[in-house]
């Protein structure tokens, strides 16, 4: 009977370090270890409701809360920006529940949680990047049923995904997938890298850093360990290409080697700024 086991414990439900109760953390941890052992494979877990809404990073938050240390330095970004609504909210939550230090400097962070971007600055083997994931299933685009996509992964049957890309080329002369670009991980599993732009996909390949992906609403966790092959799906005569910023530079720091946000000015013209605000600040300093 469970009652006795619980009565014998002395856990305090209120004010626990890092918010989540022990059971939730352990569930996430077990899933993370499996995820790392099978790179790119989506491990199911019993995602808990968080005080932030589904779709606002609950998967990433659960991962971070399961491993956070009091001496961690945490950076949270949303679309590359440290000051975005969602990032600010999540940081407040970590400060309150785990009393960690917060930074905007990629180099100083031990754990970075992100939505839709990977920082420009190269991350090291002492850092972990936690990515928030809305759609963990790369094959959902071509198959709505979870039972079917699971079978496709089991059999490494990715023919329909390839066909999808091929049809794009035939119809549009281009692969239309802009972000969430499907990748093959460790030569086996096709993975959704989360809605990072294509610009960031090469950063996953043979990196020094551990990448953890959390999809709270869909109850999935997956990972790319360091030094792991991550290859975007491409054809020999139609290579994967990142976004084209040729001839453009950041109007703030002058960078020509970063992902640029396009800003519409009041006079109708366009100007560009670095999407990675921390990196941009650092270059200007």
């Amino acid at each position: 009977m469970r009652v006795r086991e619980w009565m014998d414990r002395d856990t305090a439900p209120k004010g626990t370090f890092a918010f989540l109760d022990d059971g939730a953390k352990k569930d996430v941890r077990r899933a993370l270890l499996k995820a790392v052992a099978i790179p790119g494979y989506q491990v199911p877990y019993g995602s808990r409701e968080m005080p932030l809404a589904r779709g606002w990073g609950t998967g990433g938050i659960q991962i971070t809360l399961s491993m956070l240390l009091p001496d961690d330095v945490v950076k949270v970004i949303d679309q590359g920006c440290d000051g975005s609504v969602n990032a600010v909210n999540i940081k407040k939550f970590y400060e309150r529940t785990a009393r960690v230090k917060i930074t905007t400097d990629t180099a100083l962070a031990s754990v970075i949680q992100t939505r839709h971007r990977i920082p420009e600055e190269k991350m090291t083997d002492r850092q972990i990047l936690v990515l928030q994931v809305p759609y963990p299933e790369a094959l959902r685009e071509v198959e709505p049923s979870e039972a079917q996509t699971r079978r496709m992964h089991a059999e490494a049957d990715y023919g329909r995904m390839w066909l999808h890309l091929y049809e794009d080329i035939v119809r549009f002369g281009e692969i239309r997938i802009a972000y969430r670009y499907p990748c093959t991980v460790n030569g086996r599993h096709v993975m959704d890298p989360s809605p990072i732009p294509r610009w960031d996909v090469p950063k996953l390949h043979m990196a020094d850093t551990l990448f953890l992906f959390g999809a709270g609403r869909e109850r999935r966790i997956y990972a790319v360990p360091p030094h792991t092959r991550v290859e975007p799906l491409e054809f020999d005569d139609h290579r994967f290409r990142v976004e084209d910023f040729s001839g453009k530079a950041c109007a703030r720091c002058g960078a020509t080697d970063t992902f640029l946000d396009e800003i519409l000015m009041p006079d109708g013209t366009r100007t560009h700024f670095c999407s990675d605000s921390g990196h941009c600040d650092k270059r200007r300093a």
Partner: protein, 360 residues
């Protein structure tokens, strides 16, 4: 300059939260008491408890007040609160045969053993907006109390338990046997759903489903995109005792009662093995929420279709999309900035236009 300043965002966010709270607190109106919400908006409280997956009327009232009456938001508050609570035990399987009934009707028979107990419902009222305020609400309350409880009890009193209508049909061998799963329940709060999902997992998921979502799906099946034309064998609302085993002595004891609504629907028979029987669907949820229980009963039946032929019969379609907390969270997240993704989209469109125009 339109650049999202790194500093200053936090300030704006805090102001937004404060404006929300300020608006909710009202201008000159008296603060809303939790007892008022719990007693006078009890159907909203019931709905929020069901969707939040936590039987806690006080907390649900609190959530409704904090959410300014938004049931999605209130159910979400309750569910998030629930996630922080330790699980200290599990009740034994409870039987609604033990329900202390406050309402119980069957539309399958004119009269049923135990009788039709209409109970509290708006079903038989004229939906006229009561434009004239009550002169004296206290007097009205006293009048109603006298009318309802002042008389003598019916001869023989009200029975403690009511026989279940479905059991009467079952005794005649007229309904299918659906109680085929004796295994440990699949805990949807601890595990990610697996498809095809076992029936107990489907029912758990539906019981926490958003009322409107369940109604929509069930209605689609009743109306035309499906084959389930239900007859309500029985609808009952009442208090169900929850039995637990004492952790030290192992003795069973009643830990408390929950108000619940249960619906059992039978639908058109089929004849798979040469033994024609009615199909059965079962719905049950916290509080008094009859629309939800009936919808759930219909969907339970839909989801057991051998060959799904419409959305309401597709397990993944129904169960992945009926949860209000998940769907409202995700739909709201589109308000978050998406300019990086959008820029990437623009890049693809511009490239495709280049290709198209070069070919022209």
């Amino acid at each position: 300059m339109s650049y999202v300043a790194v500093q200053g965002g936090r300030e704006a966010i805090e102001r937004a939260c404060e404006s929300y709270e300020h608006r909710r607190l009202g201008r000159d109106s008296a603060p809303l008491g939790l007892d008022q919400i719990r007693e006078q908006l009890h159907l909203a409280v019931d709905r929020v408890m069901g969707e939040g997956g936590l039987y806690a009327p006080e907390h649900a009232a609190l959530a409704l007040r904090q959410a300014a009456g938004d049931t999605f938001e209130a159910a979400f508050l309750l569910r998030a609160h629930r996630a922080t609570l330790p699980r200290i035990g599990e009740s034994k399987v409870c039987s609604t045969g033990e329900m202390r009934v406050i309402r119980r009707i069957s539309s399958a028979f004119k009269d049923v053993p135990g009788g039709q107990i209409l109970g509290p419902t708006s079903d038989y009222s004229l939906r006229l907006l009561e434009l004239d305020p009550l002169d004296d609400p206290q007097a009205r309350k006293a009048y109603l109390r006298e009318r309802l409880f002042g008389g003598t009890e019916p001869a023989g009193g009200i029975p403690d338990e009511f026989p279940r209508v479905v059991d009467l049909l079952r005794a005649e061998g007229l309904v299918e046997d659906v109680s085929t799963e004796a295994s440990e329940p699949f805990d949807i709060t601890r595990r990610s759903m697996v498809y095809p999902a076992p029936r107990n997992a489907r029912l758990q998921s539906l019981a926490r489903g958003e009322t409107g979502a369940l109604l929509f799906l069930a209605y689609s099946s009743m109306r035309g995109y499906g084959h389930i034309h239900p007859t309500l064998a029985e609808l009952r609302v009442g208090y169900v005792p929850l039995w637990m085993e004492h952790p030290k002595t192992g003795e069973p004891f009643v830990a408390g009662e929950v108000l619940a609504t249960e619906a059992e629907v039978v639908s058109r028979f089929s004849d798979p093995n040469g033994d024609p029987k009615f199909h059965l669907g079962c719905g049950m949820c916290f509080g008094q929420n009859e629309i939800k229980a009936i919808s759930m009963g219909v969907l339970d039946r839909c989801l057991r279709s051998a060959s799904p032929s419409c959305p309401a019969e597709d397990q993944e379609f129904v169960l992945y999309h009926a949860d209000g907390i998940e769907s409202m969270g995700f739909s709201n997240h589109w308000k978050l900035p998406h300019y990086v993704d959008f820029l990437s989209d623009l890049d693809r469109l511009r490239k495709a236009r280049e290709v198209a125009h070069a070919g022209a």
